[in-house]
């Protein structure tokens, strides 16, 4: 058991080193800049609930949709060696379906919301299956295959609600988008935790993890070991569809309306980045969900930090790019190898005679 722990620390942190260091650096940077940056206070919101507030809460809360999408994106990346760039558009579709069903009900109860979510999930899974079929059955590169839905997804979302951007007014919906009565933690954060646990359970009670990794690393060998590679790839897209539906519904609930043009706009690139920052290879194979989730928080923390530094929203993207380039380069195999070699030399230098220095 002790060995297990050691192995966990060694293997686990190996991949998580970069995202964890990134989080630590951002925290330290913010604390130096403003020691009160992470202070958490209790305030009362419009409904009179006692809730937690502060920068840390808004970072964790704001990253929820991204974190959930990053989970699904990790699976697709691992199985297909490619990424789905249609998640933002698909989320707009799921959000539109969610609103459409809610609007068609006479009154909004918990049951209606669940039904609306299930409808959104089914639609998102169907679109996931569409992407997955193009990739798994027809062998089209994931980015190209998902480019189709990326291009037309927001138009489809537009049709669903007849071009309008209907609002949904319901305490249940606003609870999903912000706080539920009596719970001081934002609901989206709780949903992230639930989704993460569900995926962990999925990995625990099925062999999805090893099968997905095998398909991503060596498809030919996976097939000869009896793995249905088409199914695994398709499944990864369908699971991403579930994630898309959850994020879309959170996004809608936050605003209480569906805006098919802006809902989760450009989120796909952040989701892919989260996967990469999490130390997962975009070339597929081995993966760690936890890395991608931390990656999502890194991205959000960076954004909030920049806003806190009064960087204008137009400039934020440029600054984000700089930090991300640094992170990705530091996490690259080349730098890793050089670093290991450097550390190796350092160790050797110490163990050998001190005279070596002069030579």
């Amino acid at each position: 058991m002790k060995e297990n722990k050691k192995r966990f620390l060694k293997g686990g942190l190996g991949q998580l080193t970069i995202p964890v260091i990134a989080v630590a650096l951002l925290v330290i940077f913010n604390l130096i800049r403003d020691p009160g940056f992470f202070s958490i206070s209790i305030t009362h919101n419009n409904y009179g609930n006692a809730v937690l507030a502060g920068n840390l809460i808004s970072i964790i809360n704001g990253a929820s949709e991204l974190a959930i999408l990053a989970i699904g994106m990790t699976l697709v990346t691992a199985a297909t060696k490619g990424q789905d760039i249609s998640v933002g558009a698909a989320a707009a579709i799921a959000g539109s379906v969610f609103v459409k069903v809610l609007k068609s009900a006479s009154s909004i109860s918990v049951g209606t919301v669940i039904l609306a979510f299930l409808c959104a999930a089914v639609v998102a899974m169907l679109f996931g299956a569409f992407n997955g079929t193009l990739v798994a059955v027809f062998g089209i590169q994931p980015m190209i295959a998902t480019l189709i839905l990326y291009t037309c997804g927001r138009s489809i979302a537009y049709w669903i609600n007849g071009g309008a951007t209907p609002t949904v007014e319901s305490p249940i919906i606003s609870a999903i988008g912000s706080f539920a009565p009596g719970i001081p933690i934002p609901m989206p954060v709780i949903i992230v935790i639930v989704v993460t646990i569900l995926f962990k359970l999925l990995f625990h009670f099925t062999s999805l993890e090893i099968l997905t990794q095998s398909v991503g690393i060596n498809q030919s060998a996976a097939r000869l070991n009896g793995i249905n590679t088409t199914f695994i790839k398709l499944l990864s897209f369908i699971l991403l569809g579930v994630c898309v539906a959850v994020s879309g519904c959170i996004g809608v609930s936050r605003l209480g309306l569906i805006n098919h043009e802006t809902l989760l706009l450009d989120v796909e690139m952040d989701a892919i980045l989260a996967v990469a920052i999490g130390g997962n290879s975009l070339g597929g194979g081995k993966f760690k969900i936890s890395g991608s989730i931390i990656g999502a928080y890194v991205i959000q923390m960076l954004t909030i930090t920049l806003y806190a530094m009064k960087v204008s929203s137009t400039d934020v993207k440029a600054y984000k790019a700089i930090v991300i380039v640094l992170l990705v380069v530091i996490g690259s195999p080349v730098v890793k190898q050089r670093f290991q070699k450097f550390m190796g030399n350092l160790k050797k230098g110490k163990s050998e005679t001190k005279g070596v220095e002069g030579a």
Binding site: T206, S207, I210, Q213, S214, I217, N218, L224, N225, G226
Partner: protein, 499 residues
Amino acid sequence: MQDECLLKLRGIEKSFPGVRALHNVDFTLRKGEIHALMGENGAGKSTLIKILTGVYQMDAGSITIEGESVNIHSPQDAQNKGISTVYQEITLCPNLTVAENMYIGREKSSWVKQKEYETKADEILKSLGIPARSSQQLGSCSLAVQQMVAIARAVDMNCKVLILDEPTSSLDDKEVNMLFSLMRDLKSKGVGIIFVTHFLEQVYEVSDRITVLRNGEFVGEYLTKELPQVQLVAKMMGKELDELNSLSDAEDREEGVGEVLYEAEGLSSTETNPFDFKIRRGEVNGFTGLLGSGRSESVRAIFGADKVNSGKVKINGKPVKITKPIDAMKNGIGYLAEDRKRDGIIPDLSVRENIILALQVMNGFFKPISRSESEAFADEYIKALNIKTASAETPVGSLSGGNQQKVILARWLLTHPDYLILDEPTRGIDVGTKLEIQKLVLKLAKEDVSVTFISSEVEEMLRTCSRLIVMRDRHIVGELKGADLNQAQVMKTIAGGEA
């Protein structure tokens, strides 16, 4: 005698996390010499070669080329210093043309016209007698031809030291002879050739000197003509050869003891012609024939690895349908694929995960093998097959070829198959492991498992199989058993009416 020293390695040390790969290894190559580098699986041959070609950096030691002390920093650096390598597995780009493969990364000027490359490449190919056109896509050539293109590329780079790492493992006899005459030609021009192979006969046919490594240490350097084959094997294995001999007289193998386990009638896939085949319980049979004769394709059809077109298959007398690998696995068939790198290992996954993979797939999606269970399985088979790995969590890609092969064997043994198909399980691995695998096959047969054993070394098959199916041009042309099981008869049947 040309005894001028070309390359001198002294006191080479190299360690990897948890493993000492090389310790105090010396190696000397003279001009115009073919020098065989011999050793068992994990003896350190590959590591030594990778140091020589700049893939790895040595921890300690010295390298001298023509009396000049050098450091080799990268593969490019090695090439510039006149060291060229043709690796065991083809490392060219199958989607480029032959000419592009020969000149990729070499020509400084990118303005040299493609035609010019092709003319040059065609000349070289022709002078070496390689049956390929320069404008052809490399991937469309047979494995053997691809190998020779790799050699042609090295030859054309005017190298001083040519390293051939298992160059013959995918060549047939004719091609081997062609390669040997090429090697002798290069030798007479003063090139030093380091020849790594597991075919002992080839070492004696072509090499001048032999250096033996064992467990990462230097055993000795010998003149080939002064070292009898038996002694060479003993030096490589560090043990006496009684075992090897005891294996070779497995004359008491009975044929067709059990009932028929597997029976196919008119079986065909996209890659084969229809054929009939059956195997009894506890029987070891083999498919033999030249490269491209259809031996691998036939067993792939049995396993459902290629799309099956037709055929009636019965297992234990009951008709079954096998159209894809999982069908075969559920019917108790295991299949170790010919190309370990492409169809066998999942390199980034651990030894443990690789071992349990097939069993996991058979158990199904909703029955994952628990961590502790899989650890127990892995430990059991690492021990049983004597797999040399730092731990069960080591990525399988970092093991030596022979140990990778054992991991895949373990994977199939863990599924407890009734019928195990082994396609070239001994290719590119050392004598010791080969022996272990052959022993294992005979042991399995005793336990009533049926085995189909394919090897390009006919001798191995004669040692283990009680029945040999001979193929030519994608047809079964003969079946040998009993007194007919000898090299001469096999060759005769393979050659058939031609000649």
